[in-house]
């Protein structure tokens, strides 16, 4: 599903590079629910951005869903993101002007799916995350937990190979955070959805089948390797 080989990433000037990821190699299989743990500055967000095709590594090879990622053209990378990936963000990132189902349907628009079909599939996803009756609500009329459910539905709607969640519970209270992890777990179990979630919350990470710990840009622990 996902294979990273000797990924390096550094920021800053050529003379004084600041290394963020150093020689990261790991493999995620289909159907895994991985938590990436680590303190701030450990490189976990950078890792997620590289896997999410939003950032390119300085060195190393990445194969995602059978495609070797080259970052040759922004157009091609964008289409790969659309086809292979679903994102869930800490701050939901819903467009305030669009209602719930319109937000969910957005990824399909960039695939040229006709409007009627988009709505149908968006409503299906809303049902999946338990928000059917909120289809026409604007994000401002939804609670934080409901917004994140809409965001998860948006990540799911394109039937991606991999869902990337960046601190998906960071803006929620602990009870809602638990619900959200349960929802992701259910998607993982019932749909076999592969999920990689970045978090710094060890308790929430317990719910995940696999935990990868990063420190100073290196993988220091991996429950799958243990």
């Amino acid at each position: 599903m996902l294979r990273l080989s000797n990924i390096h990433k550094a920021y800053g000037s050529r003379e004084r590079p600041v290394s963020v990821l150093a020689d990261v190699s790991l493999t995620v299989d289909d159907g895994e629910f991985c938590a990436v743990l680590g303190p701030s500055g450990s490189g976990k967000s950078t890792l997620l951005n590289i896997v999410g095709l939003l950032d390119r590594p300085c060195a190393g090879e990445m194969v995602l869903g059978g495609t070797t990622i080259s970052h040759d053209s922004a157009q091609t990378t964008a289409r790969l993101r659309n086809r292979l990936l679903g994102f869930v963000f800490q701050s939901f990132q819903l467009l305030p002007r669009l209602n719930a189902w319109q937000n969910i349907a957005m990824p399909l628009m960039y695939r040229g799916v006709p409007r009627g079909e988009r709505k149908g599939r968006a409503l299906e996803m809303l049902e999946r995350v338990g928000l059917s009756e909120r289809a026409d609500h604007l994000p401002s009329q939804l609670s934080g937990g409901q917004c994140q459910r809409v965001a998860i539905a948006r990540a799911l709607v394109g039937e991606p190979r991999l869902i990337l969640a960046d601190e998906p519970t960071g803006s929620l209270d602990s009870a809602t955070a638990g619900e959200m992890i349960d929802l992701l777990g259910a998607l993982n179990r019932e749909l076999g959805m592969t999920i990689v979630m970045v978090t710094h919350d060890r308790d929430l990470a317990q719910a995940c089948g696999r935990r990868i710990e990063l420190l100073d840009g290196r993988v220091v622990a991996d429950s799958a390797a243990a």
Partner: protein
């Protein structure tokens, strides 16, 4: 992937248009202000084109009866003696000059004219019979001067001249007597009112017409001092005028040529100055408007960085992002163009009314206004759109 797929946005264009409209509506007042420059620019260009169109039509109307092929030679005295040129030389012009289709000699002047009760100063036109047709003088009463009249002391009165010579109970009309200078004439006809034209040698309404051969009796000079010439179609009036002046030249007279083409050109040149000014105003407004639109779009890009980052993350290609902003700018300016066109037509109508013209719409200007405005939007929207498509999605998603 094929070349076509990489050049075009992936999202359907219609949907991008719908989004653009929604975004602009959401921005409300700011969109309206950005429209203003485009609106003024389009309005002045549309007004200019329509006013130009109407002015052209009006000036053509001035010549429509006589046509633009008319040339007039006028003799002005240089000394004491009366000015003129030989009648035969004028009448021979169609044969002697290849550019001339027809030529009529006239003798004009001014003098006292008396009827039984009244006396007034009138234009005196000694004319050959052909003038009636050439100048389209409509006979209201009686008949006009014919070839057989020679100088048989029959005269025709212009419409106003007849009124001026009439007194209660003694109307000047067919059969009445008038005294032109010292010679008595019988009125044989009265012309209906005619609309004055630019190339009329005199005001026909205020004139008394006598046969050309009577010129030496009622006017200071015996010879014609005006030649009305119709040129063959497509002939350049300028050199023809110079040639004819050379042919008719005589000591004691200075000859001037007036031709309809030249007058039309002068009038058009004046109009062109006005048109250029309006065009400059329009172009500057459009430029300023375009920069305003670019500014608004750049602000919009900065404010919507998160949205752009999100769209990129969920699979919008750089082309999709560009299309979103270019179309937004184009829709903005298109709306400005449509409203501006309406204002421009309104301004054109106001100018037409105040100039006493008939309002005429130049239909081809209708698509031009929104078209030019939309083009401005495309051009000035391009830079903000490219800026948007080059945002780093990670940075953009982090923006607040």
């Amino acid at each position: 992937m094929s070349a076509r797929r990489t050049l075009l946005p992936d999202a359907p264009l219609g949907e991008t248009f719908a989004e653009a409209f929604a975004n602009l509506r959401a921005q409300g007042r700011r969109s309206a202000l950005a429209l203003l420059g485009i609106l003024i620019g389009t309005a002045s260009i549309i007004a200019m084109l329509n006013v130009g169109h109407m002015a052209q039509r009006e000036s053509l109307k001035l010549f429509s009866d006589m046509g633009v092929d008319m040339l007039q030679i006028l003799a002005v005295p240089t000394g004491e003696a009366a000015a003129g040129f030989p009648r035969e030389a004028v009448e021979r012009l169609p044969q002697s000059d290849p550019a001339v289709a027809a030529a009529l000699p006239l003798a004009t002047g001014r003098g006292p004219v008396r009827s039984s009760r009244k006396q007034t100063d009138l234009s005196i036109v000694a004319m050959p019979p052909g003038l009636v047709r050439l100048a389209r003088l409509p006979v209201a009463e009686g008949r006009s001067i014919a070839a057989i009249d020679d100088c048989g002391f029959g005269a025709v009165l212009g419409h106003k001249a007849a009124e001026q010579l009439s007194a209660p109970g003694a109307a000047a009309g067919v059969g009445s007597r008038v005294l032109v200078g010292d010679y008595g004439f019988t009125v044989i006809g009265v012309f209906a009112p005619v609309v004055a034209e630019t190339l009329d040698p005199t005001d026909y309404n205020n004139a008394v017409f006598v046969p050309l051969s009577c010129a030496r009796r009622v006017l200071p000079g015996a010879d014609p001092n005006v030649a009305m010439i119709r040129l063959k179609p497509g002939v350049d009036g300028e050199p023809a005028g110079q040639r004819i002046i050379a042919a008719l030249a005589r000591p004691g007279s200075s000859l001037q040529a007036m031709n309809a083409q030249r007058i039309l050109q002068t009038m058009n040149a004046q109009k062109a100055v006005h048109s250029r000014m309006l065009a400059a105003i329009g172009a500057i407004s459009l430029l300023v408007g375009g920069i305003g639109v670019m500014n608004v779009m750049l602000m919009s890009v900065m404010e919507r960085r998160r949205e752009i980052g999100l769209r990129a993350a969920i699979g919008a290609t750089p082309r999709d992002v560009q299309a979103l902003f270019v179309i937004e700018a184009a829709v903005l300016t298109l709306v400005g163009g449509v409203v501006g066109t309406l204002f421009g037509l309104l301004a054109g109508y106001a100018i037409a009314v105040s100039s006493g013209w008939d309002f005429g719409l130049a239909v081809w200007t209708l698509p031009l206004g929104p078209g030019v405005a939309g083009l401005i939007g495309l051009v000035f929207g391009l830079y903000p759109a490219i800026t948007a498509s080059r945002l780093d999605p990670i940075e953009a998603l982090r923006a607040d």
